[in-house]
Amino acid sequence: MTNPLHADHYADRAVQQRVTVLENVQLARDTYRLRFEAPQLARQIVPGQFVMIRLAGCNDPLLGRPLALYDTVLSPSGEPIAIDVVYLVVGKLTSRLAKVSPGQTLDVWGPLGNGFPPTPAEHLIMVAGGIGQTPFPALAQEFLGSRTYGSPPRSVPRAGRVTLCYGARSADYLAGVEDFERLGISVRISTDDGSQGHHGLVTDLLGLELARVSRETDVTPQNWEINPPPLQNGDPAELMTAYPGTRVVCCGPEKMMEQVAKISALLRIPCQVSLETPMACGIGICFSCVAKVRDESGNWDYKRTCVEGPVFEAEKIAW
């Protein structure tokens, strides 16, 4: 018997283990890629899921921290054997994590959360702000058909086009751009200070990308605008979209995700957001990571980001 109120992605199948660090390399300012050996976890995890990481045998900080799957690492024979996560140094744990060397151990439990649904998309637009690019290398490869994830491997119809819109404070914070470029996807960059790419917000990049798609001509920041498609029969529920097959996935600061959700709703483009909330356990028992999520009738209730998310339909979030 299962609890009927349990989330679909309850942590019953997660494993807790002590893992060995293989690499911990700096990618950008205050940003590192951590690789640890975890074959079972690497076989199970899918894009958008996360792991909890804690310094082994250390009670300061006491609690673990959630970090999204950046990618899995394959052995020469093609078997998933290790996990990559990318983190920004923000507080005590990430500061100490940055000093961890290969051979040291960490306590890890996962895979956790629901991950991005394998919903088909002709054009997948990934919108990332700050350190929000981290769930997307795996997702991009899955939609490009170049990698599979999960056990058994989940099936995702190949997308015709994958685009990354990635905004950061400044050029020195951009982490992993070459990883995305290597995949052969379109990478569009914005920075708050104009030190690289578009001088402005990543939401501008999304608007530009959508304007470009609808016109299939050159669009510049000076001439782009978003026009909602006309409703047939005046019924928004029809989801008649000007962007058939387009799907937006988003991860970043809350205000940015809210704006991306608004743009997507205006154009009736399906949009999923991956929330980042303060999280203590990652397995659904502490209720610290709750977000306001609407039900079918439009009323909101607190949902746990760890087991009922972190990926939610953007239209369901009560921002």
Partner: protein, 272 residues
């Protein structure tokens, strides 16, 4: 605790008697929740949803279910107890008269007369074993425990979280939504040990130790201090499989003291 048990040790009886409630072992998972500071409160669907959805499921997992309840006032505690009466699957009820994030709860657990009133009311309303969960945020926790025992509580559980606070001084803002919150985890273990020791000396009913318990050494310290059982809360957050490990380690730890059962070590602290 790395020393293996003596090879010729007899099997150790892990079962414990909490008043009328018999448990197969003394390691319990705590309700709700260096230290952890929270102002989460008690997020739940209410007693009706609990009885309809959660309790039938919990009855199937193979461990006795102690229902930890909180009401906004004395009458609500009693009403919930009355609703629990007769529900198969509930082995006992724990009265959380001590959650620092639910202000009325603190009031009931900080005054001996109010504590006695809510325990007596619940005692009259339901026949399940009643456990009173106490707050450490009082001058004399033994007085409160004695009031609960005299009013008919079958056991005392202690402690709930210690009131605490965290501040972002750069922004001059509290870090918790409720300004102050409850501190738990290893940081409060010495406070909890002291409280359990004081309560166990003051009352005849069993005490369940709570507060920063994470290792087998912690478990043994609480048993020796006078706890008949322990609850693991915060450690579940940072070591999800740790509670099961404690159960595996317990027989060897008891054997090290030559104990044949948990009861053999409970309250055996030698104070020079």
């Amino acid at each position: 605790m790395t020393t293996p048990p003596p090879a010729d040790s007899a099997p150790v009886d892990l079962s414990v008697q909490l008043g009328r409630l018999r448990l197969p072992n003394p390691i319990l998972v705590a309700s709700g929740t260096a230290g952890m500071l929270n102002s989460i409160g008690l997020d739940n669907d209410g007693i009706d949803a609990f009885l309809e959805h959660h309790l039938p499921y919990l009855a199937t997992v193979g461990a006795p279910t102690i229902v930890s309840i909180a009401g906004r006032d004395c009458d609500e505690f009693i009403a919930i107890c009355a609703q629990l009466e007769g529900h198969a699957g509930a082995a006992a009820v724990e009265l959380n008269i001590s959650c620092p994030n639910v202000s009325h709860g603190v009031d009931l657990g900080t005054d001996p007369a109010l504590c006695a009133k809510v325990v007596a009311g619940c005692r009259a309303a339901c026949s399940l074993p009643i456990i009173a969960k106490l707050t450490p945020n009082v001058t004399n926790i033994a007085t409160i425990a004695k009031a609960a025992a005299d009013a008919g509580a079958d056991a005392i559980s202690a402690i709930n979280t210690c009131l605490g606070m965290a501040i972002d001084w750069r922004r001059r803002r509290p870090l918790l939504g409720n300004v102050v919150g409850g501190l738990s985890g290893p940081a409060i273990k010495p406070i909890a040990l002291r409280a359990v020791y004081q309560i166990a000396r003051a009352v005849k009913i069993p005490v369940i130790g709570i507060g920063g318990i994470a290792t087998i050494d912690d478990v043994m310290e609480f048993l020796v201090a006078g706890a008949t059982a322990v609850q693991i809360g915060t450690a579940n957050f940072y070591n999800p499989q740790g509670t099961m490990a404690l159960l595996d380690q317990l027989p060897a730890a008891l054997a090290m003291l030559g104990a044949k059962s948990v009861a053999d070590v409970v309250g055996t602290l030698v104070v020079p």
